[in-house]
């Protein structure tokens, strides 16, 4: 893992902040409720630290993955707990549902919108074309999901850069996180476009 200066990390944080802000706005519009986003977290962590500080490796999550296509490649991972999936699908459908397929397709559609508004905002800022491919949803252990994504993107370091936006709904934490996992070299390109 490359070392980044404070200035570079601030620059990246600003980019992610803009992407996450747009994503929060697009969810708010969709569900007609105010959804907010925390200041994004960018940290370089070992797997051990990530599982301790972010989400534990044995937690069962709904994981939605979309590949990023366009000028930069990588993946967007949206992770929601079961409770939050209930909440979000209820907000989207306007009614509670017990049908797991309906619930998952609502979450999947939501991720599609979030990913594309996140990427669209970043793309505008950096003057590049970025869209996300159709999401794939899977219920699995967080550890299996996140480690396999880094491996699939050929990122083999013991330390990984965790870029995450967390969302809240009426002051309540939503337990929904958006991870931005770019391919090797993309962050350097982003910094270059920012002129840092």
């Amino acid at each position: 893992m490359m070392a980044y200066s404070e200035l570079e990390l601030d620059g990246l944080k600003e980019v992610i902040n803009i992407g996450g802000g747009h994503a929060a706005t697009s969810i708010s519009k969709l569900v007609n409720q105010k959804i907010d986003m925390h200041v994004p977290e960018i940290s370089i962590l070992s797997y051990h630290e990530m599982y301790k500080q972010v989400i534990a490796d044995d937690v069962e999550v709904h994981a939605v993955v979309s590949s990023i296509v366009g000028d930069y490649n990588g993946m967007i991972l949206f992770v929601v707990s079961d409770d939050s999936a209930d909440k979000l699908s209820e907000l989207m459908l306007g009614t509670k549902t017990d049908d797991i397929n309906v619930k998952m397709s609502a979450v999947s559609e939501l991720t599609n919108i979030i990913s594309n508004s996140f990427l669209g905002a970043i793309g505008n800022l950096l003057n590049v074309q970025l869209v996300s491919a159709l999401p794939v949803i899977q219920d699995d252990y967080f550890g299996a999901v996140i480690s396999s994504i880094y491996m699939a993107l050929d990122q083999y370091d013991d330390h990984i850069m965790v870029i995450r936006n967390e969302f809240t709904y009426s002051e309540e934490k939503l337990d929904a996180s958006l991870f931005f996992i770019p391919e090797t070299g993309v962050l350097e390109q982003i910094l270059k476009s920012l002129g840092i």
Binding site: E60, D140, G143, S148, A152, L153
Partner: protein, 156 residues
């Protein structure tokens, strides 16, 4: 125990590793001594990374397994060992996306090859597919429980 690590313990302890995606959990065990080592590797081959300083040997199939077997043999010099492996999934059907192909499948092949080189019979495995796994090994009897989200536990 966590990712890119291994651990050796004695019965009646249990060894557990969680959230195996494309990674592989390998339990190497001897019944008489009641000793077992569980490794959680991430990658098949350390050679592309040989130039890097301070390699974590426990991360790679080709380094982790011989090292763990050495340590097991120090503790149980005459023991004959057997192995079971779990993991090596192709999560989300990622193989189409990676430049290096299906990492889970390559991990399975590397671990099987390394066990063969070490002369340790592989007596059971629960590998491949698209789902993550958690494994819990009971060192009293080598019973290995494999858990997959939304499925009943499987014993191998």
């Amino acid at each position: 125990m966590g990712i890119a690590d291994y651990k050796i313990a004695l019965a009646p302890a249990k060894l557990i590793t969680v959230g195996l995606g494309s990674c592989i959990g390998t339990i190497i065990y001897n019944e008489q001594a009641g000793i077992g080592g569980l490794s959680h590797i991430m990658l098949p081959d350390s050679h592309p990374f040989a130039k890097k300083q301070a390699l974590n040997t426990a991360k790679f199939a080709d380094l982790a397994l011989p090292e763990m077997v050495d340590k097991l043999k120090q503790k149980a010099p005459r023991a004959r060992f057997k192995a079971k492996i779990v993991g090596g999934a192709n999560m989300f059907g990622f193989n189409a996306l990676s430049k290096t192909g299906n990492i889970g499948q390559r991990n399975i092949e590397a671990v099987e090859e390394m066990l063969k080189e070490l002369g340790i019979p592989l007596i059971a495995s629960h590998v491949g597919g698209n789902s993550g796994r958690t494994m819990i090994v009971d060192l009293k009897n080598f019973e290995t429980m494999v858990r997959i989200v939304h499925h009943d536990a499987v014993y191998i």
